[in-house]
Symmetry: C2
Subunit: 317 residues, 2 copies
């Protein structure tokens, strides 16, 4: 892995690069427990998630030689689509390692974007080993989903966009958190804002790492979560270094809270939000993080499985 350090300047450059190809995603008003705040609807990106930001910034910084050799990524589905979308646009070959139980919609979308998908067993196989083996066999650059300086800078572009749209620095940004790529990027992109990472119960690898001051690995018997996008085996040192002592303590949400947030987004925002994309909204609605009129809540993904989404919205909590 590279020694490059992500910087605030890098986030600003990433935001310029992203703005050149993608219109800003809407910042929409939302009433949370009688307080008017804002949602940043990155679920409306072309691939349905914020992951397009980091993937684009990473791939557009590859050298001509690196571009020619292609890229390999590991992803439960949204980073996969971000890499596939960016690779197609830049004429780069992309191979994506995805769990066999990734939502069908994410597998299908990744393939439709022209990437080759290699499946691995979850739990069982180590996805990073599968990717390393592919690179040993075929060559290519690994585009890590969160532990990569360019990816972190790219994700941070959401903060620059949101501040532009809000007309001032957000008081706080509440962000769904898997490996910590977005949260780390936001600390750089929004230096004046409190950053609140929100993780699923039992999968708070970032929150636990910030509290311990060291990488913490997911328990082998970690509970199931509906947030398929937020199940990293662990965060990475590059993310922890940016988050520790800078981000607010981690917050966790239950499946029931996530489903309630999906229903809220359906009825009040008319947006389709996937479970992992609704975690930050869930924390805000449950009163687990403070919300004021300058608060920005990230809706990070909208690639919802139709049957699961139907069951969630048909349920009257």
């Amino acid at each position: 892995m590279t020694e490059r350090i992500p910087t605030a300047k890098g986030v600003i450059a990433a935001a310029e690069s992203v703005a050149a190809i993608l219109p800003p995603t809407p910042l929409l008003p939302v009433e949370i427990n009688r307080v008017r705040a804002w949602v940043k609807a990155d679920s409306l990106q072309p691939i349905g998630s914020f992951k397009i930001r980091g993937a684009w910034w990473r791939l557009s910084n590859l050298s001509p030689q690196e571009r020619a050799a292609g890229v390999v990524a590991v992803s439960s589905g949204n980073h996969a689509q971000g890499v596939a979308w960016s690779a197609r646009r830049l004429g780069i070959t992309a191979t994506i390692v995805m769990p066999h139980d990734a939502p069908q919609v994410k597998l299908a979308n990744t393939r439709a974007l022209g990437a080759e998908v290699v499946l691995y067993q979850r739990p069982g196989e180590d996805r990073d080993e599968v990717a390393a083996r592919l690179i040993a066999e075929r060559g290519g650059t690994l585009v890590h989903a969160f532990g990569d300086p360019w990816v972190i800078e790219g994700q941070g572009s959401a903060a620059i966009e949101a501040a532009d749209q809000l007309g001032r620095a957000p008081s706080r940004i509440i962000a769904c958190c898997g490996g910590g790529g977005l949260a780390a990027g936001l600390t750089l992109g929004a230096p004046e804002s409190a950053i609140h990472p929100v993780e699923p119960e039992g999968w708070d690898m970032v929150g636990q790492a910030m509290a311990a001051g060291a990488i913490v690995h997911a328990a082998p018997d970690a509970p199931k979560t509906i947030c398929d996008a937020l199940q990293p085996p662990a965060t990475k040192p590059i993310n922890l270094a940016l988050l520790k002592g800078r981000a607010e303590p981690g917050v966790t949400v239950s499946d029931a809270e996530v489903r309630a947030a999906q229903r809220f987004a359906f009825a009040n925002l008319r947006l389709v939000v996937e479970p992992g994309g609704a975690a930050a909204l869930a924390a805000a609605l449950a009163g687990k993080v403070p919300v004021d009129e300058n608060t920005v809540i990230m809706l990070t993904g909208g690639n919802a499985d139709p049957a699961a989404f139907a069951a969630t919205i048909a349920e009257t909590a």
Copy 2:
């Protein structure tokens, strides 16, 4: 009813008034049968539909005396919320006549916005008579859902916004059509664009009126449609006068085509669109209207009944 004639100048003024209180709704890229076109997501308005435009323009043009006497509107639900939202913001009392079988979400939202809801039986009672009786008893100004010059001008503001966002006049605007308020407004707001009204099968009161050159009333045995927002008893002379000879011939869509469009919006745009709000998209996807890179497809509403929406997206057509 007033003698005022809606004008292109009026639409421009309406667009300025709307822009002062509501940010533009997103214009999002969409791929329709391998052609890249645009959707105008008015389903993301605060009340979940474009109806906020016309209601706002009508109510903000009331005299102080008229404001004091309150307003009465007749609506299946979206105009209701537009009037209620605008009335609350302007400090005007609003009474809304709604069908007893309007979607619960629309009844609840209208009441939550502070309006008084008076129910009528559909079919059976004449909703305009119910409204006229209320006005005779209590006074107040009728805010017609589509047959009103200010309402028409306000709806037309969507065309001004879309052209601004597109950077040029749309080649064509495909619009969901009930009574013809939006379509009539678009003819004024987009003088260089072809305007395509799309109606549910059996409820093409605008298409039939344009073809006949006279008002046509819905048949007593008109088929059921899932497009609850697009079931007017007839269009009005003011709408027909603007549309006849100017709009393209009307197009109709089936319930199955509308549901397919809702699924498309769910999976590809991550947007919740109600049946009546998906009619224009349905016509585009079914190849019933031409689509090119300067085509704008209006998504007019997102107030979907959860159970019905769940059934639609769970279905694999």
